[in-house]
Symmetry: C2
Subunit: 90 residues, 2 copies
């Protein structure tokens, strides 16, 4: 729960499964989440090894986030959770 819990980590993982994504792209796709939330959650997820952070020194700077293999495996878990919710009407 400490790794996957909270309000946004699951959504972030979901949106990252398509491939490396920029900070603001995430911010746009996760409509209801403030940039602070995304930044905090990404930092935690980087520390737990779910995602990697890449800084591209263009101008203006670009920062992309990408799933690690561990992050991909987490998506499998989330899918189990999802199926469980659906099976029990939740």
């Amino acid at each position: 729960m400490r790794i996957l819990g909270g309000k946004w980590k699951a959504s972030i993982l979901w949106h990252l499964q398509a491939g490396p994504t920029r900070f603001n792209a995430l911010s746009r796709e996760l409509g209801g989440a403030s940039k602070k939330m995304i930044a905090e959650r990404l930092k935690e997820m980087e520390e737990t090894g779910l995602v990697t952070r890449q800084v591209v020194a263009t101008k203006p700077v670009a920062v992309t986030y990408e799933l690690t293999p561990f992050g991909h495996s987490a998506l499998g878990i989330l899918e189990s959770l999802h199926d469980w919710c659906v099976d029990h009407d939740v």
Copy 2:
């Protein structure tokens, strides 16, 4: 996450799998949790249908909590989560 999240619900489910358990028994087994936490979490879990509450009109009163089938199925999910953590060293 809303159903299983928080700090104590998983532990409560785990301790209830042995069968109907009394409030104070839970309180003793979940060392670090105050009675307030347990009471609040149990109330939520009753509302989401994970557990049932049974009042036995002895003197003094006894109250036991028991897993519903839905609660049992949640244990399966938690086990998946646990296995996932173990497999990835967490």
